[in-house]
């Protein structure tokens, strides 16, 4: 197996990007990424696209060929593949490209994620997001995506005594980080009180516990490390990769307050590089809801089960704390454009590990992890990156 490095990144601001189409977003980030890598389109062997919902929101499938065409790669008949695993589509697209390069099939791939969630009404985009759960036996029974996470939260509060204030601290921290990220959808700080007093969505989850449904795109260039030197001085290596699945429905899990797919994906990623949770300098977590960040940190093994929430409230996961989590602002404050989210996480790690994160730089960051999941964690993808 060959080593794989990230040699270029490109990202749009996330948010309500009404003046931009899916193909335009894809093109902009793709061009930015190859420019950053110092390669030309002729160097690209394959294109991987993470996209969850173009069929539902834009009545457009076959997004792989669409992107290849509008990025000017149709003339060279580039192999283009779309990857879908709900909100884990982006992370999983990276893993497909990673495996193709590590396996020696190709040398350079561009992995792009793009999503348009605000071309449709709020209720349509919310229903689209809930398609990552069991449409027949959860959504059709009246369960929203937020309500499933509300039951996860309720179960976690019941068993571990997790409090309202602790959940609010997740959002407060992620907004604080986003205030230093010019590409964030909500680049401003909010107080824990504001989170605790925001409108009820599905008890106990309130509006500011929930990540937005955003438009946005992100792209990276992956290259076999042995060939990376030629292009980029500061390549960031992908040293670990893991993936796992679980029952699609939350109700088929043994415990509602655990997300075992995250634990297993993280374990596989750690095993592939011989690292452990204490080796990590920073982590990007899939905080689609505040409770998800708490549980993911427990599943990865950064904190013991039932202990993450109090440590977050204490400030241990804030910039300058023991282990900074979601320095990008996370899904909550950077924004959440499903197909692009997993790639945006990797871009944050790359910027941090290159030492180019500006105000929000984690000092001396060398190893970072990204955890990206789909549905109620029926798919989890975890990557570990190492800077030079």
């Amino acid at each position: 197996m060959r080593e794989v490095s990230v040699i270029g990144v490109g990202i749009t601001k996330f948010g309500e990007l009404w003046d931009k189409s899916l193909r335009q977003l894809g093109l902009e980030t793709g061009l930015a990424a190859i420019k950053d890598a110092g390669i030309t389109s002729k160097d690209i062997d394959a294109l991987y696209i993470g996209n969850m919902a173009a069929g539902s929101t834009l009545q457009q499938e076959h997004v792989s060929a669409l992107m290849a065409d509008y990025c000017g790669l149709a003339a060279q008949n580039i192999p283009a593949t779309r990857v879908e695993a709900a909100s884990a589509s982006g992370g999983l697209a990276i893993r497909q490209a990673y495996m193709a390069i590590a396996g020696g099939f190709i040398d350079i791939a561009v992995v792009g994620g793009a999503e348009k969630m605000t071309d449709v009404s709020d209720s349509e985009s919310s229903y689209t997001v809930s398609m990552g759960s069991d449409e027949q036996w959860e959504s059709k029974a009246g369960a929203t995506f937020a309500s499933l996470h509300a039951m996860i939260a309720q179960s976690h509060m019941h068993e571990y005594g997790t409090t309202r204030e602790e959940m609010s601290a997740v959002s407060e921290k992620n907004h604080y980080h986003a205030s230093m990220n010019p590409m964030a959808q909500f680049p401003f700080a909010i107080s824990t009180e504001a989170v605790s007093n925001s409108g009820m969505v599905s008890s106990p989850l309130r509006m500011l516990d929930c990540a937005p449904n955003s438009d946005g795109a992100a792209a990276i260039v992956l290259c076999a490390t042995e060939k990376a030197k030629k292009y980029k001085k500061k390549a960031v290596k992908i040293i670990g990769s893991g993936q796992a699945s679980d029952t699609l429905s939350l109700h088929h899990r043994k415990k509602l307050n655990q997300m075992p797919a995250i634990k297993i994906a993280a374990k596989r990623a750690f095993k592939s590089c011989g690292k452990k949770p204490s080796d990590l300098d920073l982590v990007e977590i899939h905080d689609n809801f505040t409770i998800s960040e708490i549980i993911a940190l427990e599943e990865i093994g950064i904190f013991k089960r039932g202990k993450a929430a109090s440590r977050i409230l204490k400030g241990d996961t804030k910039l300058g704390g023991k282990i900074p989590v979601n320095t990008s602002g996370g899904l909550k404050a950077r924004g959440h454009a499903p197909g692009a989210t997993g790639i945006a996480q990797i871009i944050e790690l790359v910027q941090q590990l290159r030492g180019e994160a500006g105000e929000r730089q984690v000092k001396g960051a060398k190893i970072g992890m990204a955890e990206n999941h789909g549905g109620t964690a029926a798919t989890a993808v975890v990557h570990i990156l190492e800077g030079e």
């Binding site: 309500s147 039951m151 008890s203 088929h252």
Partner: protein
């Protein structure tokens, strides 16, 4: 939802029909032709089973921002309940103040309207749950809502 897509699950939705695996002696809902715990041996060992429709609340939430098609109910209670035979399902709990539903409460099934495709489209019916010790019936005056216990 398309007519065939709803129609082929009618039994499961109307009558709480699931499956019993003769190998592991476990119950499954919705209906499965294969029990993941028993593997391929189970394929000919699954038989239909009608659940008693009794169980208890595992976790619940009051939904304020309703699911598409459920806007008329809001705020409403969604719960994961554990049926007495073992499997858990996601369901709406009706005929009570949604805030009153708590883990451990006993529930039983009722046959209710789930929604409709449009004003002229087909109506969807299915199973919801009520608390075993019902509060004062909230919907007793609403003639559109059937109240047949399964």
């Amino acid at each position: 939802m398309s007519v065939p897509r709803f129609w082929r699950e009618l039994d499961t939705r109307y009558n709480l029909i699931g499956s019993y695996c003769k190998i592991t002696k476990t119950y499954h809902y919705p209906r499965r032709s294969f029990n993941p715990e028993a593997g391929r041996e189970s394929i000919d060992s699954m038989k239909d089973y009608q659940f008693k429709g009794t169980g208890e609340v595992v976790s619940s939430t009051v939904v304020h921002q309703a699911q598409t098609g459920y806007e008329m109910f809001g705020p409403y209670c969604i719960a994961i309940i554990k049926l007495d035979e073992g499997p858990k399902i996601t369901t709406q709990i009706v005929d009570c103040e949604p805030e009153h539903v708590k883990p451990g409460m006993k529930v039983k099934s009722v046959f209710r309207k789930l929604g409709e495709d449009s004003e002229s489209g087909i109506l969807h019916y299915g199973t919801k749950f009520i608390l075993n010790e019902p509060e004062e019936a909230i919907n007793s005056n609403d003639e559109d809502i059937s109240n047949i216990e399964v």
